[in-house]
Each structure stands twice: as C-alpha cells, then as structure tokens.
Amino acid sequence: MASFVLYIQSDCYASPVLDDVLRFASAALQLGHQINHLFFYQQAVQAICADIDLPADEPDLAGRLIAFAESNQIPLLYCATAAEKRGFTKVRPGFTLAGLAEFGMRLENTDCVVQF
C-alpha cells in the first residue's frame, strides 16, 4: 500500500492525458493504494475551465475525472496563479483552488508523486 499524488502539468487540450490520469488512478485504487490528491499546474490548469463547450462527439475527459474524484473523495487541486494568468477564472465545480506552497506541504506524507 502506497500513497500517491498525481501531478498533472502537460497540455490537456485534445490530448488523452486526463484519460491517462483516470486510468492510472483507477488502477491504483483497485490495487489498494491511496491517492491523496491530484494537482493541476502549468497548461493542465485548462482542465478547470467552466466555459469549455465541447462538440457532442468529443469525450468530456475532465468531466469523467471530476465524477471519479467525487465518488472516491479525492481532492482535485489546481494552482490558482497558473489559472488566473491564463484567464481561467470560471472554475468547473469539483476543482479546489490551491497554491504551490500547499502542494509542497501536502507532499509531506506522500510515498510517490507521478507526473503527467
């Protein structure tokens, strides 16, 4: 049993990164590991945007991740500064504002950080 933090920083626009995160997180839970939280930084903060209007034939990967996190009570944190600088101020319900310092402090009791 290990505790994980998933650190997501790569561009998630039209890329499968959020699906990678979801599959990794589900597998980890299935194996009895613990996911402390997910942290979104750099270009990945785009995932928090409330205003994204996806065409009907595109999968809503962020939505799937939110549903997964909610049902497993895993906090979805994002760097407020990185989001605000990009103009992402309308936040989708399910994401919680945090800072880099909070990310640092929460690493205290973490066995593994996995970067996406």
């Binding site: 920083q9 930084y41 750099q42 270009q43 880099l100 990310f103 402090m105 690493l107 973490t110």
Partner: protein, 116 residues
C-alpha cells in the same frame, strides 16, 4: 521533508514551462523540502546572465533567491554545457557540474522527481 529532484530541461523563454518550473522549485524549497535542481539540455540557458532585455518577464533574476530558500544543490549536466559551448564560469551562480553517473546518483537518491 522529502528529497525532491527537479530536472529542468526547457529553454528559458520559449514557453512558460521554465518559469513555472522555477516557481515550483522555490515553493517546494520554501515548504522545507530538500530540493536539488538539475539543468539539462536547453535549460542550461536559464542560468546564463541575459545580454539583452526580453519581451516577457525575466524570471531568471529570481535565481538569486535559491540560496535564501536553501536549495540544496544546483547541478548542471556536463554534456549539455559542452553542447552549448559554455563553461560553468559563464553562469549566473556557482553550480555543480555533473556527469551522467553523478546524475544517475541524483535520480537514485531522490524520493520524488519532477521533470519540466
């Protein structure tokens, strides 16, 4: 307190990656982690003093805070310096020039590794 190795491999001003990776490095050091920085490839250019002004914010001036924030070590890949025909004396601060086996050592001893 965790031993965190941040591997920087992005050029300084072509995107926000280098700048935000440096912010993260400082935040992790400020939250009492033992932070080691390793600059590889185009990221060695982040450590060069600027010869001219750039159109974006010059985040590299904040490197003078590395000592204040107790960054444990600033390491630079020996091969990358050679590739860019630089010597450590040209860099903004004293650094440890590390060959590949020393870099492997850094990877082995770190409890968390983040790459930008």
């Amino acid at each position: 307190m965790a031993k965190i190795l941040l591997i920087h491999q992005s050029s300084p001003f072509s995107s926000a990656t280098a700048r935000e990776a440096q912010d993260l490095s400082l935040a992790l050091a400020a939250t009492e982690h033992e932070v080691t920085l390793l600059y590889r490839g185009p990221a060695v250019l982040q450590l060069l003093p600027l010869q001219a002004t750039v159109a974006v914010k010059d985040f590299t001036v904040s490197q003078k805070l590395f000592a204040l924030y107790d960054i444990a070590a600033v390491c630079v890949c020996q091969q990358s310096l050679q590739q860019y025909q630089l010597t450590s004396a040209q860099l903004r601060m004293p650094v440890q020039v590390v060959d590949l086996s020393a870099q492997q050592q850094l990877l082995e001893t770190a409890s968390h590794i983040l790459v930008h």
